[in-house]
């Protein structure tokens, strides 16, 4: 079991990967990727039980679905650092003939990916379906998912949320990246989410809240979420994060949702993030 400091070191390297990947092709989405780095690191290096010998069916292992597919650089870095494929392949991100498409896809058979995402609002339904399959298979492992807060504007999420409670899908831990930002501005200007906790509770989910940029709180929160599974209700983690976390000039603004840093900005950003495991 890795210590929280070791997890923080991995997160620092993942953040470097994200920045270098989007910088290299001058496209992609650093903001949400950096904000969710601590979470995905904790999930893959602490919480989930899985095999990097990838199978689509993921029988007898925990599986994860990324619904907000635009944070693909984070997903790819974590998968590579976890051992699903060679970190050198990160250099192909968003380039022609790459398995690392702009948004994650199963179409190119990249190990670790079980559905395409990019068009928002579809991942939670798929995660719930996979959780149902686990139940039908008598598989006691868990399904995890992540979606954005802006992404919750999509009505399909609320259909899924209603469904999961109705069908007692209690082997699912769905996390919301509550960074308060989306493309056109802060979520409360674009489409207010108001009391998200009350909304999920009204749909009969168990809700826990945590700071997604504090490794100690993350580990405690994820551990707790696991203890709440199997009790008849789906679990939602409302995770407060900061867009652009880890790079001072990117933090907290929707401006960095989908813009790549230039050469100078990359240098400034990397100077804030120790190279702990070696760049790809």
């Amino acid at each position: 079991m890795l210590t929280n400091n070791e997890l923080k070191n991995i997160a620092s390297q993942v953040r470097r990967d994200i920045l270098r990947m989007v910088h290299a092709v001058q496209s992609g989405h650093p903001g949400g990727s950096l904000g969710c780095t601590d979470f995905l690191t904790a999930l893959y290096f602490h919480t989930m039980h899985y095999s990097t010998n990838f199978t689509m069916d993921g029988l007898n292992e925990d599986i994860f679905f990324l619904s907000n597919g635009h944070i693909s650089p984070l997903f790819y870095s974590v998968l590579a650092r976890a051992g699903y494929f060679d970190i050198k392949e990160l250099a192909t991100f968003r380039k022609l003939n790459s398995r690392l498409q702009g948004h994650p896809t199963t179409h190119e058979h990249l190990p670790g990916i079980r559905m395409a995402s990019g068009s928002l609002g579809q991942g939670l339904s798929v995660a719930i379906g996979a959780a149902l399959a686990k139940k039908l298979n008598g598989d006691n492992h868990l399904v995890f998912s992540l979606c954005g807060d802006g992404e919750l504007d999509e009505g399909q999420n609320w259909e899924a949320i209603m469904f999961a409670a109705h069908h007692t899908v209690d082997n699912l831990i769905a996390t919301i990246d509550w960074n308060g930002q989306q493309i056109d501005g802060p979520t409360n200007h674009v489409m207010g989410l108001d009391n998200l906790k009350a909304k999920f509770e009204a749909f009969n989910w168990t809700v826990i809240e945590m700071n997604g940029n504090d490794m100690d709180e993350l580990i405690a929160g994820l551990d707790k979420a696991k203890t709440l599974t199997g009790k008849g209700k789906p679990i939602c983690i409302l995770m407060k994060t900061e867009m652009g976390k880890g790079v001072d000039f990117m933090e907290g603004s929707h401006e960095w949702h989908g813009i790549a840093p230039n050469d100078e900005q990359l240098k400034k950003a990397l100077a804030q993030l120790p190279e702990t495991l070696g760049d790809y």
Partner: protein, 320 residues
């Protein structure tokens, strides 16, 4: 009318033509309301929003709801323009458009950017290559695919006074801008002839019109007489213009940034099959999804480049 006389004025994004057109029509027509689904920046509508904040509706990332709200706004006499990427404008909300807009005959303008491969690095989830087909199959839907900045601007303005549902498709990359600045060479439903020729008809739409011009110039140097027609209005199709051209040239090549199944090529072939059967070659994607890459790299990889058009023309002439 000669291809070598066509001059590029500048390079601009077609979506920026939409943004400018939206602002100008907003000034002229007080019933125009613009809706978006968290993509105001990408759709270049900041000037409209600044000047007419009360006629701008932010829907959040909820395209299906946006289509319904737009349909409702027409009941009060408004002229709603919905704005998002082409995939989220069509496939995402097909039944909402089908029932609430097309079947209900509502005066909604569905304005879609980032169509086709040329959106580039975002990849297949965003690069819809099926939208022309989806939209032209809907009874009563008018489908417009302008070729450059000026034409997108002209179309954006023209659809306000055109009664009925419209799908307006444009894109993301900077692209050669060559049609008239005042838009006087654009009329909804009327094919735009760019050159007169006798050996082959090339029918193109959208970004691919420029590629066809490039190919046509090279073909003319080789002594092939090309009749190039910009089919900016895919539906209703200017059937007379198509018949007139093919009955003269007796063969055709169609060029589109779309699946060859269901797009412009199919529409032309249907007219030919019924009125004047001729050999046709199709340039378009071959029943495939796209992928990440730079726009021009992708056009090359998927066979939508100038050399492919030249080869297709030579082949179709040999089939006469």
């Amino acid at each position: 009318m000669n291809l070598k006389d066509i001059q590029v004025l500048n390079e601009k994004e077609t979506r920026a033509g939409f943004g400018e057109g939206a602002y100008e029509i907003g000034k002229e027509n007080k019933d125009v309301v613009i809706l978006t689904a968290d993509l105001a920046g990408s759709m270049k509508i900041a000037p409209f929003i600044k000047e007419f904040p009360e006629r701008f509706v932010q829907c959040g990332i909820a395209e299906a709801n946006m289509i319904g709200i737009a349909a409702g706004l027409t009941v009060g006499g408004k002229i709603p323009y919905t704005t998002t990427f082409a995939n989220f404008s069509t496939g995402r909300v097909y039944d909402q458009i089908r029932q609430s807009v097309a079947y209900s005959n509502k005066n909604v303008k569905i304005c879609a950017s980032h169509a086709g491969l040329t959106l580039g690095e975002d990849g297949a989830t965003h690069q819809i290559l099926e939208d022309i087909g989806l939209m032209k199959m809907l009874p009563g839907m008018t489908v417009i695919v302008p070729c450059d900045f000026n034409q997108t601007k002209a179309a954006t303005k023209a659809i306000a006074s055109f009664n009925g549902p419209v799908y307006l498709r444009f894109g993301r990359p900077k692209w050669p801008n060559f049609t008239k600045e005042d838009g006087s060479d654009f009329t909804i439903g009327k094919a735009q002839q760019l050159s007169e020729g006798t050996d082959v008809s090339i029918f193109a739409c959208g970004h691919m019109v420029w590629k066809a011009i490039e190919a046509g110039k090279i073909l003319e140097e080789k002594g092939i007489s090309v009749e190039l027609i910009n089919i900016h209005t895919i539906k209703p199709l200017d059937v007379d213009a198509v018949i007139q051209s093919i009955s003269k040239t007796k063969c055709a090549v169609t060029v589109e940034e779309h699946n060859i199944i269901g797009g412009l090529g199919d529409s032309i072939a249907q007219v030919a099959a019924k009125h004047f059967p001729i050999p046709i070659e199709y340039i378009g994607t071959l029943d495939t999804f796209g992928e990440s890459g730079k726009p021009n790299e992708l056009l090359t990889k998927y066979g939508l480049d100038t050399p492919n058009i030249i080869t297709a023309v030579e082949k179709v002439i040999s089939r006469k």
